[in-house]
């Protein structure tokens, strides 16, 4: 276990003893607010210190077992003992981390992913295409369902914007660090003199919102547009274009959906994205506040932050948040994102732990 963590756990166990004592004192009981605060602190610390005591005991066991290693008769027994203890220590560390780390209740949710062309015009729109393919392949590897919900084409075959929904197990927990500006450096197909261009796309990953739990929308705030607006409607018209556009008037958020053959379903989908976006804008506000407070490197929720560079001539991808460079761009563009995502997750968690212990 890291030294920082151990010293903090030592502090915890001292504090717990202190609390045990304080909670029996009359003066504390007289101040209800203070009392409640201390009880909460106690119930937070108790299971952690319990595990920590266990940890210490097993460590002692290991030391005794190591002494026995010199004894030829006991050697095998001692080795078994040590191996078992090491495994248990590993488990306990994990348990402690779980208790300490704040939980993200969105982790299990499905997501909407939005990829938009940014600086760099056509080349940027083409890169939207590549990113889309990368995420589709990554979803396939995870057995997630990838549904494209809305797209707008650019002139030369790329996309100005793509919105998709990814459904599966723990989607948000894996993709939540993908939000931000993705920069690409390469020779565009449109470039005739072989010069390397730099352009960028924005990716936004938004957890799905529960209608009832999270947000209420007043139907009067919505404007709904379809392609069937003119004429007598009903039996007089037979159209196949089922696109629906919904505008949320107070926030100005516009969502368009055309992927399903049923207009009714397109409308339901558009509404779902709208809800997710409204909730997301609130969430981001919150996140940027906590990120500032905790000085987190990752997960700041800031979508204007440049997070990655994909450099094709050098065949590398660099994540700027953790300064990680991988020289296997082909594989990454083919959806092999596990290495980068795991590195981000580890960094994020240790970041959180460090912040937690240094406060």
């Amino acid at each position: 276990m890291k030294h920082l963590m151990l010293s903090k756990l030592e502090k915890f166990s001292k504090r717990l003893k202190e609390l045990d004592f304080l909670l029996t004192q009359k003066e504390v009981h007289n101040n209800i607010k203070d009392y409640c605060k201390k009880v909460r602190e106690h119930s937070f610390l108790y299971p952690i210190v319990e595990l920590y005591n266990n940890y210490k005991k097993i460590n002692e066991d290991i030391i005794t077992a190591k002494e026995m290693l010199n004894d030829l008769e006991m050697r095998n027994f001692a080795l078994d003992e040590i191996n078992l203890a090491k495994k248990r220590i590993f488990d306990i560390e994990l348990e402690i981390k779980k208790l300490i780390l704040p939980k993200d209740k969105n982790d299990k949710r499905n997501i909407f992913i939005e990829i938009r062309a940014g600086t760099g015009g056509d080349e940027s729109a083409l890169f939207v295409n590549d990113l889309l393919r990368m995420y589709i392949r990554f979803s396939e590897r995870n057995y997630w369902k990838f549904e494209i919900i809305s797209r707008s084409l650019s002139e030369i075959g790329g996309y100005k914007e793509i919105i998709a929904r990814i459904i599966g197990l723990n989607v948000y927990s894996k993709l939540k660090f993908e939000s931000g500006v993705h920069r690409v450096q390469r020779v565009p197909k449109t470039e005739t003199q072989g010069r390397i261009h730099t352009s960028a796309c924005t990716v936004a990953v938004i957890p799905e919102a529960d209608e009832i739990e999270d947000i209420n929308i007043n139907p009067a705030d919505l404007r709904i547009d379809t392609y069937r607006a003119s004429g007598a409607g009903g039996q007089h018209i037979n159209k196949t274009d089922s696109a629906v556009r919904i505008t949320h008037i107070p926030t100005g958020i516009v969502v368009q959906c055309q992927n399903d053959r049923s207009q009714h379903k397109n409308k339901a989908f558009a509404l779902k994205i709208l809800l997710a976006r409204i909730k997301d804008s609130k969430l981001r506000e919150q996140q940027s506040n906590t990120a500032k407070m905790r000085r987190l490197l990752i997960g700041s929720g800031d979508r204007s932050e440049r997070i990655r560079t994909y450099n094709f001539p050098q065949g590398r991808m660099t994540d700027h948040r953790i300064n990680l460079t991988l020289y296997k761009l082909d594989y990454i563009m083919d959806g092999d994102l596990n290495e980068i995502i795991n590195s981000l997750l580890v960094e994020y968690q240790s970041d959180l732990i460090e912040n937690f212990f240094s406060n």
């Binding site: 379809t226 037979n238 992927n259 053959r261």
Partner: protein, 327 residues
Amino acid sequence: MSLNRMLALKNCVVLVLSLQKRALATKANVVDNVLKEWTAKFEQAKIPEPENSIQNIMAHIFNTTKIDDVTIVEKNTELTNDQITHLNKLCECRLARMPVQYIIKEWNFRDLTLKMTPPVFIPRSETEELIDIITDKLESSNHTPTRMIEIGSGTGAITISLLKHFPKLKAIAIDQSKHACDLTEQNAVMHNVANQLQVFHAEIDSKGQVKNLQPDLLEQKFDLVVSNPPYVPSLDIPKLEPEIALYEDIKALDGGHDGLNIIKPICVFGSNYLKPNGSIFLETNHDHLDKIKEWLGICGHHMKLKLVENYKDFNNKDRFVELKLVE
């Protein structure tokens, strides 16, 4: 072999494969090119919804209901010769103004994919909302219907949606067209509600009586009478697009001089066969609301029938009415 060399070798293979793919992508039979080609042809022939038409036909070729699957996911895929031949044949039908729904023989209604065959009336988007209106209304009043009848079931869209929503509901569906009866039956089987449904080839007459229906079927009264009856005024029929006028059953569209020729008999039928707390839900023409009110003003009392609510569609046009018996 060292790991590095293996990786290098794999990179080479990946490169070769991607080069091959790129070489293929320049051929004419690639989805994206075919889409563009047919969009242009349709545009030139002044076919309505040129781009959407070919996208839906292409999706059908790829056995998917989502057009983005072909416009995005498969856009660089090359079509086989068989696929091209099949696609061209279907597109010829579109050039003859056949509705896309008949060409690909299916369409979606809310969550359901339904079979479509000419000349059975193709459900419109407006009718999707009728289901919400009926289910919301019944659920908010805590009324679980057990017995319904649909007059003019067509593809079966309305009845099947309601049967799916209320598993305890039993339905009778009638239609004047044998084709429609068969299609309702087929779609019901496909969506596992055939055991809740009886379909009869029968027609409602101007007095609100259903001919050719065994009388014992009407002994028990109904919680729900639902219909999307023909409501296009006869004078508007010649103005309809060829997709509708040439291919869809005119009897499912033509509602007589004011479009009320079938609506009125259905109301009369309801007044005779509705349970005391039952409702009639109808889809109507956008200008029918006042006419129905006026008509009920004259003979509603006689029929013990009143209009309890009217609803607008997504274009803010008067589209649905709900009638109940006067207590």
